[in-house]
Assembly symmetry: C2
Homo-oligomer: 214 residues x 2
DNA sequence: AGACTGTGTTACCGCAAGTAACATGCATGT
DNA sequence: ACATGCATGTTACTTGCGGTAACACAGTCT
């Protein structure tokens, strides 16, 4: 048996799996994360047990679905992070890439950030609590790696890079979530404000007259 | 009718509501956010319909529960934020207060950050997606207000303060979530690393030899 | 032909959210 | 004293989901 050569059946199964994922994608994007397995099966033109044979349980399906989108988003973020420009420009490009993505496809974003749904007690599929939002964790780790590779942070730099990776990703996420809901300013302004924050403007700002500084 | 004077019945109902919330608290802290209404009712020594009369639906109960803990946490954060010290010390004290809280009561933390559970299709109670994590939003707004009151940020300062408020809260949250799961370092180190990030060390760091800067 | 495997179905279980419909203690108005 | 209301409590039910068992039908290999 050649392990690299895939049999026809394997390829057929993979193709089917992709079709099912695309159907699930349509339903989840239409109905939100509480889309039922029945609805997904109907969209795919089949019935429930097939979904369960392919993905185990709802958590498995959602994890597979999330993986696709997460991979796609991470690819575009990596591209922005690796662009030939100086540090500030890269940071702004990365922020802008992320914000553009969530702005263009808010439904995908909602699904990725709040995948913990349908939590029956028997639902051992997703394990909420251990990895709240896999996307955030993965982005944090990737950013940490880039920071650690590119910046000279002295002793303890690796750990510092990880803290910063997760912290910056969290900053981007929370600000983006809030911005997406309220739209208080343009995307460019948001990018600039966040980059300013990362560039130490918080520490550099002067106190307001009449009181102690923050 | 005096609107400020509460009748005996009102006071009794309020007391009962508090008792129910405390029972719910015990169950949620024991079983996680997927605790069933039946289990909560049993813990309180009553049956389901009473819970529904008091809180409408599961979302209402969880919202009330979250409000209690959120208020408590926000109070302690405000205290740290208002301490008589310089800016850096206050930032570190606030970070430390938050991290201590989530470290001491991780179950409460999990509940507050991932309240969207048991999402049946009929569950119109919580409206996931509109307000993902009420705690984060409230912390962001409060911090924004403090920043705007205390710092002189020039024109557009109010908007900048809101972006920063939500961004900093998100940074704290994501880093805390990651730290709570992996415990890669002590709390003090984490606080210091995050404060360093806010103080612009990212921009000030030198490039690594052999490649362009991040 | 007959066994095996992948794909599909119907019909069902268990369980949780949420809802009548009915019972009961207790204060009040006449 | 007695009926009226009202809050508080119950049992029993419906609905709808996740998940599974059991069965049915194609193609393929020996």
């Amino acid at each position: 048996m050649d392990t690299t050569q895939r049999t026809d059946q394997q390829r057929s199964a993979d193709r089917r799996r992709r079709e099912l994922l695309e159907a699930a994608d349509r339903v989840v994007l239409r109905d939100g994360p509480q889309a039922s397995m029945n609805a997904i099966a109907a969209e795919a033109g089949i019935t429930k047990p097939i979904l369960y044979r392919h993905f185990g349980d709802k958590g498995g399906l959602y994890a597979a679905l999330a993986m696709r989108h997460t991979d796609a988003l991470l690819d575009s973020l990596r591209a922005a992070l690796d662009a030939p420009a100086d540090r500030r420009e890269r940071v702004e490009a990365t922020l802008d890439t992320y914000l553009t993505a969530i702005e263009l496809r808010p439904q995908v974003y909602r699904f990725l950030m709040h995948p913990a749904e349908g939590g029956q007690p028997g639902d051992q599929g997703f394990d909420v609590g251990k990895h709240s939002a896999p996307l955030l964790r993965r982005m944090g780790e990737e950013l940490a790696q880039v920071i650690e590779e590119r910046l000279d942070l002295g002793p303890g730099g690796q750990q510092l890079a990880r803290v910063w990776g997760h912290g910056i990703v969290g900053m981007m996420h929370a600000a983006g979530d809030w911005w997406l809901g309220e739209r208080p300013c343009s995307r460019a302004e948001l990018v600039r404000s966040l980059a300013d924050l990362l560039w130490g403007r918080l520490a550099a700002a002067g106190d307001r007259v009449g009181g102690p500084g923050f």
